[in-house]
């Protein structure tokens, strides 16, 4: 082979696509409904929304179906779709103290105002394969739901659903660093505008908002690996999880006609704040903070992001996790997976060129000996 006729290439691609479909369906089971993926593979959907950087649960679920469950591929499909959607508005900054929380914990204090809210978590379950789940059917599910909801008040809650943040309490006491004004950000801040990494190229040093944007759409595996390297000692920041919250935040835009705000709806996000090794930037020693926020319910990602946010604030980076360029250039799953996959493309020409070099080097060395 090697001389691929044009017709052959076209047909091969078409056949490959058909085969894919066949492999997805050949088991003969009922085609999975997108809604089912959206509801029951909730965390996969959230992952895809984050890495695809588009908040669209149904489309994310569809992408997951199309990708046969491969989250990187699904994120890629969603990201590509995203680039065709016009951007009509920029939202107003989201105030996460307005978060309607479903889960909220702090590892820093036993008791926090508002209390620890465990919420839906797998953290304290035993990871035993649940064989009962194999028997789950519509009837059992309905039965569980009815039983679970019985006696629960489903109306408007009496107590507060929003809480002040642990970090803010510490900040009031002067124990935690203030928000850095942009021009003081020694690691790449700019004064006048907010960077948008989807519209401009990241150069280094990169402003903090750019770093956070890149991480919010970063691939969890890559982020986790680099954050873990810091945790193990390659640039340890001595983190304590000040607060981790999962919940819904309201999304608003400036009213397109006239003044005021327009409420668009709410999105589910996970937010993490780690309290780290103290510094005395402004003269007084204070704890430093790392911040993470991502779409959906994705705690590992928010925590990894918060740790990397803090490691990357190093003014003189020594370790991989501290090096903005190292971290930001390698965490985008769409880029890394695309490039890793491109090695499957033909490289006949470059390899021919390498062969030529090797043969002539062998010849030279042979002559010498």
């Amino acid at each position: 082979m090697g001389y691929v006729a044009v017709k052959g290439g076209v047909e091969a691609i078409e056949n490959a696509e058909e085969l894919l479909k066949y492999f997805r369906l050949k088991g003969g089971s009922k085609p999975i409904e997108v809604k089912q993926i959206q509801d029951q593979l909730r965390l996969a959907v959230d992952k895809v929304m984050g890495e695809g950087s588009l908040y669209a649960p149904y489309y994310a679920a569809l992408a997951l179906k199309q990708a046969e469950g491969d989250t990187i591929e699904a994120s890629f499909i969603l990201r590509a779709y995203r680039s065709t959607v016009p951007r009509n508005h920029y939202s107003l900054p989201v105030d996460t103290t307005e978060m309607h929380i479903i889960r909220r914990i702090s590892a820093a204090f036993k008791d926090i105002p508002g209390g620890q809210v465990l919420g839906p978590t797998r953290d304290y379950t035993q990871r035993l394969l649940d064989f009962e789940l194999a028997e789950e059917d519509e009837e059992r599910a309905a039965c569980f739901l009815a039983g679970f909801l019985e006696g629960l008040e489903t109306g408007a809650p009496e107590g507060p659903v929003t809480f002040s943040k642990v970090i803010d309490l510490l900040r009031e006491e002067g124990l935690v660093e203030e928000f850095q004004a942009k021009q003081q950000d020694k690691t790449g801040g700019r004064e006048d505008s907010v960077m948008d990494i989807t519209r401009e190229t990241t150069t280094f040093p990169c402003p903090r908002e750019g770093r956070l944007q890149a991480m919010a759409r970063g691939e969890i595996g890559g982020m986790l690996a680099i954050a873990y390297s810091s945790m193990r000692g390659y640039g340890d920041i001595h983190p304590t999880l000040g607060e981790l919250r999962v919940g819904y935040v309201p999304l608003k835009i400036p009213h397109p006609r006239g003044t005021g705000e327009l409420y668009l709806g709410r999105v589910l996000v996970t937010e993490a704040e780690v309290i780290a090794r103290f510094a005395d930037e402004d003269g007084t020693p204070k704890f430093t903070v790392g911040y993470g926020l991502c779409f959906g319910h994705n705690e590992l990602k928010a925590v990894s992001m918060a740790i990397l946010d803090r490691t990357m604030s190093a003014v003189e980076p020594q370790m991989p996790a501290e090096d903005q360029e190292f971290v930001l250039s390698h965490i985008d799953g769409i880029e890394s997976s695309g490039f890793a996959a491109h090695w499957k493309l033909p490289h006949y020409v470059t390899f021919q060129s390498d062969l030529d070099r090797l043969r002539s080097t062998q010849k030279r060395k042979g002559e010498k000996n």
């Binding site: 001389y3 290439g9 880029e335 080097t361």
Partner: protein
């Protein structure tokens, strides 16, 4: 033209040439800047495409931003129009533009390519768009982008030269196969994309505009027509292209084109075929220019 754009929208729900007009304008602006500073890598806001990063998204963005309804496009990969990736890219362009495509190098107004420059000499009316995996020629000696930018700014190229020096000392000759670095317009050292060394001289003082797009690395650079492009070489260790002396294409008999080495299943023998399939076809039909860019003396 407007009608065409509307028509294509109706078909697929996407803008003409997929990318929205504002983004296309930005890419064209960055391309113009690249043309104005030959060999300099211009950062651009690389858009996401339904093609994977690393699979030609940089070249594709340039092509899509340049295409008008009257353009005739040719897409090649490894010199071949029928390579699966070339087919895939061409399909995307056709689906979103309905423009004419061709296999014929002469007919094309824009050629998008990966790893090859056509054997036949291109003209001043044509544009060659090259897909680039690594825009940074200095990457082999310096992994940090922040540092290589400074090195370019200061024309601090001695590290790369030492790399070549060390290569010769260690191996008796330079070992860089494809992606051979070249000095553009006496100012910037540039990665010519993974074309074989065979193609590098075609960049020098050409009639054609060469545009280079790296989508994943978000850079555009260019070699305008009639620009000096000199591969790095020592006075006593000259640049040399791949050696095919004594070999010829098993199909068209060419002794002056870049050849693919092929293992024949049935005979178990090695044979050689032109890497540029259109050139090979045209030679068979007697259409190919006998002179032009193809060399007779190698």
């Amino acid at each position: 033209m407007i009608k065409q754009i509307v028509d294509s929208r109706k078909d697929k729900g996407y803008n003409f040439a997929f990318i929205d007009e504002q983004a296309k304008r930005e890419i064209r602006r960055k391309t113009l800047k690249a043309v104005a500073i030959p060999g300099y890598q211009v950062p651009f806001g690389s858009r996401e495409l339904p093609i994977a990063r690393g699979w030609g998204t940089g070249g594709l963005q340039i092509t899509l931003s340049l295409l008008g309804p009257d353009d005739v496009l040719k897409v090649i990969d490894q010199g071949c129009d029928g390579s699966v990736n070339a087919v895939n890219l061409r399909n995307l362009v056709v689906e979103t533009t309905k423009i004419a495509t061709t296999l014929d190098t002469e007919e094309a107004t824009i050629i998008q390519t990966r790893h090859r420059i056509p054997e036949e000499k291109m003209t001043g009316g044509q544009i060659l768009v090259l897909q680039v995996p690594y825009p940074e020629a200095l990457r082999i000696v310096e992994p940090s982008e922040a540092k290589t930018r400074v090195m370019h700014a200061e024309m601090d190229y001695s590290k790369l030269w030492v790399y070549l020096y060390e290569d010769i000392v260690r191996w008796g000759g330079i070992t860089i196969g494809a992606r051979y670095p070249a000095m553009v317009n006496k100012r910037y050292i540039m990665d010519p994309s993974p074309i074989p060394r065979w193609d590098v001289p075609k960049l020098h003082m050409a009639d054609t505009l060469y545009l280079f797009g790296a989508g994943r690395e978000k850079r555009i650079y260019a070699i305008p027509p009639h620009t000096e492009v000199i591969p790095l070489e020592f006075e006593d260790h000259k640049f040399r292209v791949e050696d095919f002396s004594g070999l010829s294409c098993g199909r068209c008999g060419s002794t002056s084109s870049f050849l693919d080495e092929i293992f024949d299943d049935s005979s178990g023998q090695k044979t050689y075929l032109c890497s540029d399939t259109n050139y090979c076809d045209r030679r068979l039909t007697g259409l190919a220019q006998r002179k032009g860019n193809a060399r007779n003396d190698r």
